[in-house]
């Protein structure tokens, strides 16, 4: 069930009603039932996966947690008679057992994922894969990467003693399958989301209106901008668009992805808010970032956090990495200090690239990101010298330049999403210099991308609205707070205007793909 479908709106509306009518104790049960109704609407065959992950998560978390609890009890009782070594040895024994449980859990979950992706089997026997895939008749189950990462995070947190395991199996099920975040995330931490999920929420007009406003804002971005510009992005991928055409593609794709992804997340977070549940922000005006490190602290934050907590950090503090860093410290001096970090970063970015899609262009995407992060880290002293001499640092213009530079760089990296053929991607990058073809801007080719002048106008208007809202957000904080202080009439007028614009101008419905539809002949 697509977020932007009417049946989803009706589903959410009805759910909200029931949620606030039913006794508060049962609210989380309602959410659980709703999540599974939502999930089943995507197809029955996917149920197996989410149930499998939920069960394995629950079992693993209870085992690891009970061992740690027993360990704490044991140590507390025999506090005096055990020496430090004995205590350490006992703790290591427990830790060893827990690690095995953790590894089994990880292999089971990701193993199943590999089977469903048919990758494990392909090398051995093509026929076996087809039968298995045929039998499971699978594309990728809905939101598997989001709920699986969230569950893995939960179990690892328990292993690290950061969080205590939830005893109630159904509450764990809800944590894994909370429907707003199923489609596009955000990937939440148990400690942040679970308390809110299971606590009781009385009806709060302010939260509800904030939630609905954000959902409407998500719809506006998705329907009016993202889905409209999608046609041009599809057309610009054609081989004949090089140089400026390619740059336009990168920019249009940036607009589409930003509006589509942040729009989807707005709907998800807005939905959460309507239920009184505050989910982590996944985007903080990423196109205002001045350097690549800042960009990845503002774009798809929850994935970045997950990769940092569960891949980058464990990797860089792991045993072999420590040995390596000791080695490089000794005989490479200063640079030696950074080698281990860069290796860990490369592995993490390789993993993030693969997470987006198991094809070469996503690996290239990951490596490019990593390259520029390492580059900007290395050039740090150079920048410092440069700024010391010219002192541009705090000038407004330079800030804008940095943002423009970062926007273009990230667009050119992100566009690799659309080019599975990596050599084509690089030849297109090269064409920026070899065949600029600036004339595409005014020689009318823009009008045969599937967009009329009116469409461009609407997209322009949409971008302007997004920009103003972002600028206000960057300067004065939450736009909705600001709006709530304004007189009610103005607030309602704005909301109604946004609703009508989205309803009328949104690119949705049958009118949009009926080429010779009768009514267009009127």
């Amino acid at each position: 069930m697509q977020f932007t479908s009417i049946s989803f709106l009706a589903f959410a509306g009805l759910l909200l009603l029931i949620y606030y009518i039913v006794p508060k104790k049962l609210q989380w049960v309602i959410l659980l039932i709703a999540s599974y109704i939502f999930y089943l609407s995507a197809g029955l065959e996917y149920l197996f996966f989410i149930v499998f992950t939920t069960i394995t998560t629950y079992i693993a978390s209870r085992i690891i947690d009970s061992r740690l609890a027993k360990q704490k009890l044991y140590l507390a009782e025999h506090k005096e008679e055990l020496s430090r070594e004995e205590k350490k040895e006992y703790k290591d024994k427990i830790k060893k057992k827990n690690q095995i449980a953790l590894v089994v859990y990880l292999v089971l979950n990701f193993g199943v994922l590999a089977v469903c992706k048919g990758l494990l089997i392909v090398p051995f026997n093509q026929m076996a894969t087809n039968t298995v895939l045929g039998f499971l008749s699978l594309g990728l189950p809905l939101g598997i990467s989001f709920y699986m990462f969230q569950s893995v995070g939960y179990v690892v947190d328990i292993h690290r003693g950061v969080v205590r395991a939830e005893k109630n199996f159904f509450k764990v099920t809800l944590f894994v399958s909370f429907f707003p975040q199923l489609v596009q995330g955000p990937i939440s931490k148990f400690s942040q989301l679970a308390p809110q999920l299971f606590s009781e929420h009385s009806f709060d007009g302010k939260k509800l209106s904030y939630g609905l406003q954000r959902i409407l804002w998500g719809f506006f971005k998705k329907l009016v901008i993202a889905d409209r510009i999608a046609a041009a992005v599809g057309a610009l991928k054609a081989p004949e668009y090089e140089g400026m055409g390619f740059l336009l593609l990168a920019t249009f794709y940036a607009v589409q992805i930003y509006a589509d992804f942040t729009g989807g997340i707005d709907v998800a977070i807005g939905l959460g808010e309507a239920f009184g549940i505050q989910m982590t922000e996944n985007f903080v005006r990423p196109f205002f970032s001045k350097n690549i490190a800042e960009y990845w602290r503002r774009w798809h934050i929850s994935l970045g956090e997950w990769m940092k907590d569960y891949i980058f950090y464990p990797l860089s503090v792991s045993q072999p990495m420590r040995k390596l860093s000791k080695f490089t410290y000794k005989n490479m001096g200063n640079l030696g200090k950074r080698i281990p970090v860069y290796i860990a970063s490369i592995i993490t970015w390789f993993a993030t690239g693969i997470w987006h899609g198991f094809s070469p262009n996503f690996i290239v995407w990951g490596m490019l990101n990593c390259f520029f992060i390492v580059l900007s880290e290395e050039l740090m002293p150079l920048y410092a010298k440069f700024h010391a001499r010219f002192g541009l640092k705090d000038k407004k213009i330079y800030g804008l330049f940095e943002m423009a530079r970062m926007f273009t760089l990230m667009n050119l990296i992100r566009i690799s999403d659309l080019f599975p053929n990596v050599s084509l991607y690089f030849s297109k990058l090269l064409s920026l210099v070899t065949n600029p073809d600036i004339s595409v801007l005014w020689d009318g080719r823009l009008l045969n991308l599937g967009l009329t002048g009116l469409d461009y106008g609407i997209i322009g208007f949409g971008i302007l609205v997004m920009l103003t809202v972002s600028i206000i957000g960057e300067k004065k904080g939450s736009v909705r707070d600001l709006l709530s202080q304004k007189p009610a009439v103005l607030r309602y007028a704005l909301i109604i205007a946004l609703l009508i614009i989205t309803l009328l101008v949104g690119s949705y419905g049958i009118g949009y793909n009926a080429s010779n539809f009768i009514y267009n002949q009127f």
Partner: protein
């Protein structure tokens, strides 16, 4: 404070709904100048009542029969509930709805739509969606309308909003905001009558050039789905003790295979229904394919329709001894107005036709 802002919210919601309702009325296609077939269904409701005969079917009824001629020659009061490419389930639910407004003595159903067993089987799906809108948007809300929508949705429509886009047509027509014309504003609430009791008059003449032919098909059997709806119509009419007459209008295309004709004939005989295939009586009706059609034989023009109506009127009168309403006062005053507007329209269209070429 709490009460005040609840009040504020309510007024805001009401204003918003009002604006949306107005926008929807504005954005709905009006069918006043082009594709006038779209306006036919909605016109019935002001004229409902007092009709002895109701025609149900697609363009083969609303282009080939003239209720005004039936009244002028025989005093038969009738109405055509026709719409573009009306499929058999749409005909059934339309018939079901009509019985809520009146109980005619005779229901006339054109059996051509027996050949389409699913929305997809009509071929061009873009047009099919347009026809669905023409058939359904005009209907007033009732269970019949809801069932008709659910039975008519094409796969594409189901994907893009399904029943919702009929409950809130603005979801379907929202993108017409950039194509609005003066017609949309002029007819936002009221509509002019494009038909005469459901007959969409055509005065042009375009003679038949050559015989219409279609490729032979492997299986001439009508589908189970269509037979069920035909049975349902029969039972519905029996329930209201209304006579059901099956007809096949004399349109030369789409081709009406003999194997199809045989099946309907057999069905009619088995169920004691009158079935007339006007294709067999072209001479008796006096159809001249050089003057009586406006599109090389696909539909009759007004002259052909009048001939066909006078022929069929005689059968109806003899078969079901329908009352001659020309001599009771309250009826005739209302119908004389209809006859005059029919003649005015005929004259107007003929003038346009004559000084155009």
């Amino acid at each position: 404070m709490k009460k005040k802002n609840v009040m504020g919210i309510c007024t805001a919601v009401c204003i918003c709904l009002l604006i949306l309702w107005l926008l929807q009325a504005l954005l709905m296609p009006k069918y006043m100048s082009e594709s006038q077939e779209g306006a036919l269904i909605a016109e019935y409701y002001d004229e409902a009542g007092g009709n002895d005969v109701i025609f149900i079917g697609d363009c083969e009824v609303y282009e080939n029969f003239s209720p005004i001629t039936l009244y002028e020659e025989y005093g038969i009061t009738s109405y055509i509930r026709g719409s573009a490419q009306q499929l058999i389930w749409q005909s059934y639910y339309l018939m079901e709805e009509t019985f809520k407004y009146e109980t005619p003595k005779v229901m006339v159903f054109n059996v051509l739509s027996m050949k389409y067993d699913t929305p997809e089987s009509t071929g061009n799906l873009k047009h099919r969606e347009a026809y669905n809108r023409m058939n359904l948007d005009g209907m007033r809300w009732s269970m019949s309308k809801w069932n008709s929508i659910s039975a008519s949705l094409t796969e594409e429509e189901k994907e893009w909003g399904g029943n919702w886009s009929y409950i809130f047509p603005i979801l379907r027509y929202h993108d017409r905001w950039s194509q609005l014309s003066s017609e949309d504003f002029k007819y936002i609430f009221k509509r002019d009558e494009v038909s005469d009791n459901g007959y969409l008059m055509q005065v042009n003449v375009k003679p038949v050039t050559s015989e219409h032919v279609e490729k032979p098909i492997a299986d001439y059997q009508f589908s189970e789905n269509c037979w069920e709806y035909l049975d349902a119509m029969k039972e519905l009419c029996e329930k209201h003790s209304t006579k059901l007459v099956l007809i096949k209008a004399p349109s030369l295309s789409p081709v009406w295979w003999d194997q199809w004709d045989a099946q309907i004939e057999e069905y009619a005989k088995k169920n004691g229904l009158l079935y007339i295939n006007f294709l067999d009586y072209q001479q008796e009706i006096g159809i001249d394919w050089n003057t009586d059609t406006y599109d090389t034989g696909l539909h009759l023009n007004v002259y052909g329709a009048e001939k066909l109506s006078s022929y069929f009127g005689k059968i109806l009168k003899d078969e079901y001894d329908l009352e001659d309403h020309r001599n009771n006062e309250d009826m005739s005053s209302q119908w004389t107005k209809k006859v005059n507007s029919y003649n005015e329209r005929k004259k107007l269209l003929e003038d346009i036709r004559d000084n155009k070429n």
